[in-house]
């Protein structure tokens, strides 16, 4: 197998498909990042919440909280945090491909959520594109939520104490004090996850999303070339991911500069 200029010339006859595929990948990643990040924020806050509906069971008759024993453990049970933890663990412990197929073949099937066969944003097939975005977002939300949770926990406990001592509520403390500092701490990890999303979006070609990867398939089928279309697509993914990580590194440097003024 060899690479030839003629092979590339043939491949470039499919330039329009590659262009549309690239746009599709960008849209996929963009919506996934937004949806996934929102989901992750919700999951992280759920996991760190202190909603304890059974706390009354852990009360002593004079109104103090028990510290030990079965009732104390029952009183500490937090269903919101439990649900989020189960979600994160299940998503992280099952293959992305399985999740994608469950979303596409079950959740968005004819009898559950029947999507109309329309095109959106010019050329995207909604009934393929939307399940792709949803599956990717559900998956990356679980990973991102672990990153955000770590970021929230990395903020010094004294910050919370100072904020609460001023009379700010738990929610206000999270919004104005903890999250701004947490985001700064985890920006590199979030950047990595965004890059991962761009690369992982390739998997959606298995459900017929016409992204970059499906352009490769078309070019390979049409030209009988194997390597050239793959090289082209690898270069195109690189062109998406490399600038993304550079842009995030730039923001990271800018935020750190603020520290050292």
């Amino acid at each position: 197998m060899s690479v030839s200029a003629a092979g590339f010339a043939k491949t470039f006859q499919y330039a329009d498909m590659f262009k549309e595929g690239m746009l599709c990948t960008v849209y996929l990643s963009f919506f996934t990042v937004i949806l996934g990040f929102l989901l992750a924020l919700v999951l992280a806050v759920m996991r760190l919440s202190n909603f304890q509906p059974l706390r009354f069971l852990a009360m002593t008759p004079d109104g103090h909280l028990r510290e030990e024993g079965f009732l104390a453990a029952v009183g500490r049970f937090n269903p919101i945090s439990f649900i989020a933890t189960v979600y994160v663990e299940v998503v992280r412990a099952t293959p992305m491909l399985v999740q994608l197929f469950i979303v596409y073949q079950v959740v968005f099937s004819k009898n559950v959520i029947d999507l109309p066969s329309v095109t959106v944003l010019g050329f995207l097939k909604l009934n393929r594109f939307l399940p792709g975005v949803v599956a990717l977002a559900l998956n990356s939300g679980a990973y991102l939520s672990e990153i955000i949770r770590a970021g929230i926990q990395s903020v010094d406990g004294g910050q919370t104490e100072a904020s609460r001592s001023l009379g700010l509520t738990q929610g206000q403390t999270m919004l104005y004090i903890i999250l701004p500092q947490a985001i700064k701490n985890i920006l590199p990890a979030i950047g990595n996850e965004f890059v991962t999303i761009i690369k992982e979006s390739a998997i959606t070609y298995t459900i017929g999303v016409q992204d970059l990867m499906s352009a490769v398939k078309a070019a390979q089928a049409g030209t009988f070339l194997v390597l050239e279309p793959l090289l082209v697509v690898a270069a195109m993914y690189f062109c998406l991911t490399f600038p993304t990580s550079k842009v995030i590194a730039y923001f990271e440097r800018r935020m750190r500069r603020g520290d050292q003024r």
Binding site: G63, H64, G158, G167, R261
Partner: protein, 258 residues
């Protein structure tokens, strides 16, 4: 009359860890009266900080009661004006207790001015310009009027702690709690912070101060508590404590620190 002047009544306050194996607070009973400058001294691990942090429930006590403004804030539910049991809103009570920490705990992502105006704007819904005016006035009083736009990282330790004090004052608390406010400072910066605290005491602010600064305790405090092993071993005026110590643990402690 005497009970009316009681701002905080602490009765048999306990804080246990590991099923009572560690008794950080072992039955503390003390009253803080309006205008008191109560200084808490004692060796490391004596429970002084735990005691102070229990007063605004940064630590949840295991037993006993803290009656602040007529409400037992250690209870999860308290009777309201009509006698109906309602959930205790601890944020409401914390607004009335200012707290100053050993490590300042300024918010690093906000300017000094933003640090000070955040709580009044968000909690008391004070208009922004009014809050900023008040903040600048307070900053001027502690000699930092020109640093309003700076970030905490740009200030020295002493400056940070002065900001932390006026940040707490922005909420117009009824009592100020100081948790070793000078322990993390370079020696030459201790004085500037103590001066601000002294001024505050002279204005009649009720203060509870955990400190190792014996000079401050003698000069500014009107009551001194000596704690060891989670117990309140001796209390009295600075003269009682420093000139006529009774308890052997106190005598031993003073012989080491004075």
């Amino acid at each position: 009359m005497a009970t009316k002047d009681n701002l905080i009544q602490v009765t048999d306050l306990k804080k246990y860890y590991n099923r009572g194996a560690i008794k950080a607070l072992d039955g503390i009973t003390v009253n803080v009266q309006k205008g008191d400058v109560m200084v808490v001294i004692g060796p490391s691990g004596s429970g002084k900080s735990t005691f102070l942090r229990s007063l605004n429930l940064m630590e949840m006590p295991t037993g006993g009661s803290i009656i602040f403004d007529g409400v037992d804030i250690t209870k999860k539910k308290v009777p309201n004006e009509k006698g109906k049991m309602v959930k205790l809103d601890i944020d409401k009570h914390r607004q009335k207790m200012g707290m100053v920490f050993q490590h300042f705990n300024l918010f690093p992502h906000m300017t000094i001015l933003e640090n000070m105006t955040l709580a009044p704007i968000k909690v008391h819904h004070m208009p922004k310009d009014q809050a900023e005016k008040k903040a600048l006035e307070l900053l001027g009083r502690v000699g930092l009027g020109d640093r309003a736009g700076a970030y905490p990282i740009q200030l020295s330790g002493g400056q940070k702690q002065r900001v932390a004090i006026v940040r707490a004052l922005m909420m117009e608390p009824e009592v100020m709690l100081f948790d070793e406010p000078t322990s993390a400072l370079d020696p030459e910066m201790v004085g500037e912070v103590l001066d601000v605290m002294k001024e505050l005491a002279q204005e009649g602010m009720t203060m509870v101060v955990v400190t190792h600064e014996m000079g401050f305790a003698r000069e500014v405090g009107n009551r001194v508590l000596f704690m060891a092993d989670g117990k309140l071993l001796e209390q009295g005026t600075p003269d009682d404590i420093f000139l006529h110590p009774q308890h052997p643990r106190l005598q031993e402690f003073l012989s080491k620190v004075l």
